[in-house]
Amino acid sequence: MKVIVGLGSCGIAAGGMKVYDKLYELIENTPGMEVSLTSTGCMGMCFAEPLVEIQDDQGSAVYGLLDEKSTAEVFQAHIVQGKPLEKYIVKSETATCADDTFFDKQVRIVLARCGAIDPENLEDALAMDAYKGLEKALTMQPADVVNEVLQSGLKGRGGAGFPTGLKWKFAMNSPSDQKYMICNADEGDPGAFMDRSVLEGDPHSVLEGMIIGGYAIGASEGVIYARAEYPIAVKRLEIAIHQAEERGFLGKNILGSGFDFHIKVMQGAGAFVCGEETALMASVEGQRGMPRIRPPFPAEKGLFGKPSNINNVETLANIGWILRNGAKEFTKYGTEKSKGTKVFALAGKIKRGGLVEVPIGMTIREVIYDIGGGSSSGKPVKAVQLGGPSGGCIPESLFDTLIDYDTLSATGAIMGSGGMIVMDEDNCMVDIARYFLDFTQNESCGKCTFCRVGTKRMLEILTRITEGKGKEGDIEALEVLAEQVRKNSLCGLGQTAPNPVLTTLRYYRHEYEAHIKEQKCPSLQCRSLISYRIDPVLCTGCTICARNCPVHCISGEVRKTHVIDQDICTRCGTCKAVCRFGAVIVE
């Protein structure tokens, strides 16, 4: 019997280590147990963390939302007595359960090994075909490897969607004594965790992609630029690099082919702009991460002035699969123009949030309802935000849009790196636009005036609107500024920064107008425009609101109606959250 605990960052954060320790203790203290206890990365069902998978002769059963107490119950029933405990099962090969549909429409290429293997054990990865693509590639000419990737139609998964094979071709054709293969693991979009999960769950897939890429373009050095906020990913990458070196997949004379390739990991220091390739290279060189003018493109003059190729984590994790199974197999998934799958980090107000991989060409509706199970609040879904600070909000009425680079761009949003944040009726779209502008304004490196100052002016206007101080002409001013910032910025950060504002203006203009003309926030979110009061009929005088109010602005005697002092109230919503009688009304 095999017992596997999900120990990705999410799993650990949800209490996975406690569950692991509990199982360890129970197994150790029970005589005659023939159980192997291991860990794995993200299984994808983040909504049910901590997760434990039990594999025995009956098949596999995944238990979810465990704590120490339920872990002990599962141990007693399933591990000791061999009887699956259905009430905690979230996915099973033998029984049906409500959450089975989570995986029904998914196709796993990038995440094939994620959550299935122990990421710190190379044997596990090898048993599931790791490095088979590399073995194949080394028997081919570099130009043929590039051609295979070109034929697969794989596009950069970092957001821009540039054909990967073409990028490799440019780097391959650039003559030089030294070239660099760089992995962009600086996943900076707030609300996105795809790359982190891949690095934590299957680091070898990324290494394999880099080694194949290095061979194809003629590079002998590889650099992985990882976010400093991802310590577990960095640790597992370093273990994986060491293991790959020991087995001859990395280092000198790889698998006897005569090809040398080394990889080192560099930790970023916290700058969103470093996701832009030229800024990232400046950072690796030890400088402030500011973008450079292109051309020259990195393929001609990149890191340390040498031809360089940068690919995102998810892009690289596709490479081994493509080489192993052939480009033709890969093109079976996707649409006419975009091939393969895309991994999304499904989060926000969603019932079954997690890491999902779907064939390109699925509709947004299928991902949100069939996989994600709809909203977590029970209220109707209002919009979905794709592409983070560079993307936009797509309204529910457009949920039948296909997930594909071109069709998504037509909505004003972008495919992006894979953040998919679901919002319900309680989310104010002006506030969301302000939130993203606050982010980009903070992260602007300051090189281009329109990005540095323009985003600041836009943020001021948006803040003013959410505070009920919006003026006639503010919307038009936003539109003018958006266009200027887009046109006059050097890199993607500035060029796409207005997108969240433009899409919300396009689909939710009435919300902006309500804020400005009527001083009303239709979603009842903007604090300056709402007030809380206590309904005297429903209030029982239980005092719970008064005891929890952080500014002590609620008064009233026990069993008598309580009253909120509007002058002191900060509209934090605590009273509404703690009231058990629905007596706190927001308007």
Binding site: V284, G353, C445, C572
Partner: protein, 163 residues
């Protein structure tokens, strides 16, 4: 006094021992120095400059560009309040208000006793557990105002009993 001063520079010397003159190593060096000293003290930056030949303004330019680096000391316990999109739509603002109220300071400030610093961060990547915060490297997810306050009270209690 002299001995203490020498001890103070021991971590610096250890970190710089392997330095080969490759100025592209500036960011990893600053990361290691911050790990050893908790922040980047002025005298350490000056010493780094004379050791590597990288000018002080250049070092400061890099140190102030990246959000990871700090030029002032941090509290003993660092609370990283996630303000990613998923946390924002799930009410991170209210969690922040509760923590600030509990500690009597504003976001990105340190308490007077030097015990706590509240820092807002862009995203911790645990979006499915939103809203989340990280305290001393440990992530707390599915937060409510009450749960966040309890985490802090627990640390306060441990501090009091340790005294």
């Amino acid at each position: 006094m002299e001995a203490t001063k020498q001890d103070y520079f021991v971590p610096f010397e250890t970190i710089l021992r392997d330095y080969t003159g490759d100025t592209s190593q500036l960011i990893p060096l600053l990361q290691k120095l911050q790990e050893a000293y908790g922040y980047l003290p002025q005298d350490i930056i000056v010493r780094l400059s004379s050791h590597t030949g990288i000018k002080v303004p250049e070092i400061l330019g890099v140190a102030t560009f990246y959000s990871q680096f700090r030029l002032t000391p941090m509290g003993k316990h660092v609370i990283k309040l996630c303000h990613g999109t998923a946390c924002h739509v799930n009410g991170a603002d209210n969690i922040g208000a509760a923590i600030c109220d509990e500690l009597g300071i504003a976001l990105d400030e340190t308490t007077e006793d030097g015990l706590f610093t509240i820092e807002t961060v862009a995203c911790l990547g645990c979006c499915s557990l939103a809203p989340v915060m990280m305290v001393d490297g440990e992530v707390h997810g599915r937060l409510t105002q009450d749960k966040a306050r309890k985490v802090i009270r627990e640390i306060k209690k441990q501090e009091v009993s340790a005294q």
